[in-house]
Every structure is written in structure tokens, then in C-alpha cells.
Amino acid sequence: MWLTETDLEAIWLTLRLATVTTLILFVVGTPVAWWLARTRSRWKGPIGAVVALPLVLPPSVLGFYLLVAMGPNGPVGQLTQTLGIGLLPFTFWGLVVASVFYSFPFMVQPVQNAFEGIGDRPLEAAATLRASPLDRFFSVALPLALPGFVTAGILTFAHTVGEFGVVLMIGGNIPGVTRVASVQIYDYVEALEYGNAHRLSAVMLVFSFLVLLALYVWNPGAKKR
């Protein structure tokens, strides 16, 4: 095997982080996307802008704020300490929290677009058939928005795999806990171990291409609907 043991550990950690983040965002992001798609509130604009912030903010800004907020004197840090969880930086769950923020728009926006694409009519039709709001959501909206969920899931997963700046700032580079593949590559480059950097980078390149290929192959099929 030409990847080292620590490389495999970093890849495994990266995949775990991306999977957990994507699953959490399905649960957290869907209600937000639904609200943004259906609401006529004047808060739609501001909330939509907040959701899109991580697209624009440099990871260094997000990482810096998270490091301070999750520290012992920050609001999040005080909350986690009161709850007996301890401090989040340098832990796997700290990375999960950071990734959830960082990848939030990648989940919400495609799902929101899919919900908006359904329009009012199918939902109104279901309502005339006496479907409850919950029933309308689960039996009508969710299945119709499925392509949007697939896109959102793939994008969120891939974006978390590609995360670097935020992890670098709050991770502490602990093997098996916070040293993800992108950080491992950075270490190799910095330490002049270009051979190792090349091998792991190639794996990331091929992986990213395959993920995006899956996304683009899936998408035309969704549009034919």
C-alpha cells in the first residue's frame, strides 16, 4: 500500500466527519429550507443572507470566531462547560459543529430551490384531500424535492471533505481526532515531503472528481422530470 497508516487514518476521519455533518444537516437544514421556501415573512431576506454567509466569509474568519466562541470565555464554550461536555476545540465534535456552520448553505440552498420548484398546487391539492400539514410535507413535498436532497447531500459531503481553513484553526492537528486529509497534505507540503503530499493529493483529486461526476450525471435525469 503506498498510502501510510496515518494517511488512511486521516481519510477515514475525513469521511466520518463528512458523513456525520451531512446527516446532521439533513435534519437541521431541511426545516430552514422549508421555511425559506414557503414564508412571506419580511425576515426571509435577512435569514437567507445569514444562511449564505459561509459562502462568502473566509474560513479564517469563521475559524477565528468559532475558536473564540467555543473557548472557555465564549458563549458556546460556557454553555458546553455548563452542560458538562467540556470545551469543543480540539475534539471531533468541535469539528462537526464547525462543519455544520461551514456547509450550511450547501445543504439549505439546493433543498430550498427544490421546495420552491414544487409550487403551491400539489400541496393545495393534498390539502383538499384532507392531508394534514405534516402529512403534506412528508408524503408530497419530500418525495417531489428528492433530487434537491440528493444534490444537497452530495454537495455538503464534498464540501466538508474539502474543508481546510476552519479545521486548521480549531482542530489542533491531533491524529485520528482532528487531523483530516486536507491538514495532513498541508503538513506534508510544509515538511517538504512532496512525495507523500502528491500521493494523498491524488487520492483527494480522484475522489472529488468522482463525487462531482455523480452529481452531474444525476442532475440531467432530475431535470427531465
Partner: protein, 250 residues
């Protein structure tokens, strides 16, 4: 005729300007940022030259220089990288010298936390110990060597968190996420005393000296201002600044 005059004036200004004042573009290791800024300000005032400095980790600067970055000199955080550049023919032979020797300090933002550093490390009375990545940063290397000398490396290992450079090792402690950390004395010292918190300066015999070398690169070969800067760096004024920030010189 009208439009020609301003052009001529501008041209003559530019020409006369380039005779006396030149520009120097240098790469500087992150740990030396604060003293270098002070030295540059002083050098610019005394010489009339302009210095453009890029600060970063030595590994990154090395990679950039190897790939054609327009730096005329490198002030590294170690001896290895400047030596490699010199051997590869990317530097001016014989220009390499040790411009500073760093000191390591075990530091906490809590004014009462660190008294006897060795005893504190032994007691385990801290949540995390922040260090610079020993693979990348000489200060990280020295931190591990210190733990080795104390015979505590295995005990402390589960509590280690690593910054990619010494600035980040400092950041982890400064934000309170790690109780203590090994940082560069230059980061927590100004005018000969600690800026805040408490610290234990690691005795020099506990780790190999953190010697930092500077090298004139090929691009700076024909720029007399670069040579002037190096002479200035070895001079009294610069040396005083370097000492002020907690570094030794040879």
C-alpha cells in the same frame, strides 16, 4: 507641447528616485514578525530604502522560493531550509548567517498558573498543552525535546494539541482553549518582560538551540540595498531590537 512636460517631470523623478532609494522584497519566518517590523521601520528611516516583507512559515516560504517567488532574501525559522537553498544554488554563497537564536517559554494567560514549569507539567494540572507542530516548526521540535529531557513526553502526549506554527500555538493558549503552551519568548515578551500571564523560560540545556538563519537569494544578488539590509541586521541597532524581543544573537 503641454502634455510632455508632466511626463518628463515624472520620468526624471522616477530616475532620480531609483538612484538613492531602492526596494527590497524579503520573506520572513512568522515568529520573527514583531522584531522584523521594528527593524524595518528603523532601517527604512536610516537608509531611505523600502522593504516589503512577506511573513509565513518557513516551509511555505521555502516552497514558494523554490518555485520562483520574487524574494531577495529569506529570514528563516531554522538553519535547514536556508542551507538547502544555498546548496541548491538558489542563494548567494557565503551570505548565510545566524541572525537570531530563539528562546522557548511555557506560558499561560493566567498570572498564577506557571511558576515552576517542570513541576506543573509533571502534576498534569492543565487541560491541554499547546505546541507548534514539531514536524514543521523548530519551536515545536524544541518543545518535544524539552518534554523528553523532563521524561514527561509519554505522560503529556494525550494532552498535546498542535498549531501549524508557533503563532497558532500561541493563539490556542491566548484564547483560553489550552491552559498552557510552549511558545516563543518573542511572542509574550516586550521591552524585556512578559506582556501578560505567567511563564517559565525553558533552560537552554533542555533542547537544542533554536538557531535561525538568514540568506540572500539569487534575486537579491545585484541589489545593493539587500546587502545594506544584511549589514544593518548585524549592526547594533537591529541587535538591540532583537534582544528586546527575547532573542539571543551569536
Amino acid at each position: 507641447m503641454q502634455p510632455i512636460r508632466p511626463v518628463l517631470i515624472a520620468a526624471s523623478l522616477l530616475a532620480s528616485g531609483s538612484l538613492s532609494a531602492a526596494e527590497v522584497q524579503i520573506a520572513v519566518a512568522g515568529n520573527f514578525t514583531a522584531p522584523m517590523k521594528a527593524i524595518i521601520a528603523s532601517f527604512e528611516q536610516d537608509s531611505g530604502h523600502t522593504v516589503k516583507a512577506s511573513y509565513g512559515s518557513t516551509g511555505k516560504l521555502y516552497a514558494q522560493i523554490k518555485n520562483g517567488a520574487p524574494f531577495e532574501a529569506l529570514l528563516a525559522a531554522d538553519q535547514e531550509r536556508p542551507q538547502l537553498l544555498e546548496e541548491q544554488g538558489l542563494g548567494v554563497p557565503g551570505s548565510r548567517y545566524t541572525y537570531s537564536i530563539g528562546a522557548l517559554v511555557l506560558w499561560s494567560t493566567d498570572a498564577n498558573k506557571v511558576e515552576d514549569g517542570a513541576a506543573l507539567l509533571k502534576s498534569g494540572d492543565f487541560n491541554k498543552l499547546s505546541i507548534a507542530n514539531p514536524k514543521l516548526a523548530p519551536y515545536g521540535d524544541a518543545s518535544i525535546e524539552t518534554l523528553d529531557s523532563l521524561g514527561l513526553k509519554a505522560d503529556v502526549e494525550p494532552k498535546l494539541v498542535m498549531g501549524e506554527n508557533i503563532a497558532q500555538a500561541y493563539q490556542f493558549v491566548d484564547t483560553g482553549n489550552a491552559d498552557i503552551g510552549f511558545v516563543a519568548l518573542s511572542q509574550v515578551m516586550e521591552g524585556g518582560k512578559l506582556i501578560k500571564g505567567s511563564g517559565w523560560i525553558v533552560p537552554g540545556e533542555m533542547h537544542a538551540p533554536i538557531s535561525q538563519d538568514a540568506l540572500i537569494l539569487n534575486r537579491g544578488k545585484d541589489n545593493p540595498a539587500v546587502t545594506e539590509l544584511f549589514v544593518y541586521l548585524k549592526g547594533e541597532k537591529a541587535e538591540a531590537i532583537i534582544h528586546d524581543f527575547g532573542y539571543e544573537t551569536e
